[in-house]
Symmetry: C2
Amino acid sequence: MSTPVTSASAGAGFPAIVATVDVVLLTLLPDSRELAVALLKREREPFAGLLALPGGFIHAQDDLDARDAAERTLLEKTGIRSPYLEQLGTWSGVNRDPRGWSLSVVYFALVPHEVIAQHAGGDVHMVSVDRLRGLPFDHAAIIEQAVARVRSKSAYSTLPAHFCGEDFTLAQLQAVYEAVIGEPLNKVTFRARMAEMDALDELEGVKRSDGGRPAQVYRLKKTFRDRLSLIDRGMGRAL
Amino acid sequence: MSTPVTSASAGAGFPAIVATVDVVLLTLLPDSRELAVALLKREREPFAGLLALPGGFIHAQDDLDARDAAERTLLEKTGIRSPYLEQLGTWSGVNRDPRGWSLSVVYFALVPHEVIAQHAGGDVHMVSVDRLRGLPFDHAAIIEQAVARVRSKSAYSTLPAHFCGEDFTLAQLQAVYEAVIGEPLNKVTFRARMAEMDALDELEGVKRSDGGRPAQVYRLKKTFRDRLSLIDRGMGRAL
DNA sequence: CGAATAGTGTCTGTAAGACAGTATCTG
DNA sequence: CAGATACTGTCTTACAGACACTATTCG
């Protein structure tokens, strides 16, 4: 059972807790166009040998904040830096870890598949989110919520663009949106929405052909590399 | 400065941290129809005497999880239980508390004004979210984010219904939505959306008059007392 | 019966989606 | 020039909002 810990630093009598961060690193598999999550084989007990989310302890002496700890953990465990990193939520309680009460601040990241191919260590396993089984702790619930968040936010933001490489055509981007959302989109409407969000830079003169007429190449504006542009559906339209 | 703490319970070598919960308790002021947040005068240093969010330490030996700690803290500090309590996020880092590194899991709650009038202790101050000043720690940023979340979610969910008393007419509910969102809504569209969300029970035969023809009285379905019903804007419509 | 509020039907403008036409490249 | 893909214009349909009309109660 867990018992309270007295902080030596912040004065006597303050209950202390073991706090960790976990990162849900997502990508789109290039062939099947499925969402996949990065998992690592656990070295230690509990659940040694099982695939789990990359995570680690928050080190108050080193990490400026939990986000900082998440970036550090992601880099140390997978070799990857993600410009986009969003807090998903915090999971805590006495039942999530057999060692006792624990708390984990969870972030999620989106990177193009090429980044994983180039930078990730060989011990990083990308597993389709539809074929997860036997995950330790509450990692299944965490991943489920991350996927739900990505899918729902994708419908009205630039989020899926983070699955694309640096440069892309509108047709490629639309295909990514369709893969994430899971249904086909109207080409005219898609282009109108992208224009409305005003988050893409047109690379002047740069075209890319896929067998036919070369398409204009775009790039996500610098401003939106680490944040999203959202569609404004003025409250009037919503209710 | 904060230094790491060694947990006595979870084995040697695990860094520990002081973790707290804070609650953003919101209501609609009855007269001005403004959003207001519950604040308490701080008894102790730092920032003794300033108005701050109700909060407290997570006690791993007593609290099942952080949500449990938030419910307990809210009840102890304000005398209020809120059926609706949603995690807003976690704030952490070395700069938010002069005593050093800290982490707070923040929840927000929505209750009708009458609940506060009846159950809240006299030391609970309801302050309009547009007239906040001199808040300690990062409480200003936390409240700002809570208000933004409530406003944006209100446009496509049953969230504002939690500001109403148990029973209400559609006209009353619409007025609450308009107060939260900050703009007038179309009566026909509002009623269509409410029907679509299918979250209200019609109290058969119960009518309430406000000087003219008595209106049908409704009540939030039990299912949606502690969760939301969302409008389905099928992804097709969104992008 | 008049005032006041509840609830609904109709009309109109706007926006989304289907479709097809034009444009521009490769081989 | 044929094939393939990019891009854009038009038409149709559906929904949101404005407006007004009917309904029901109170004084």
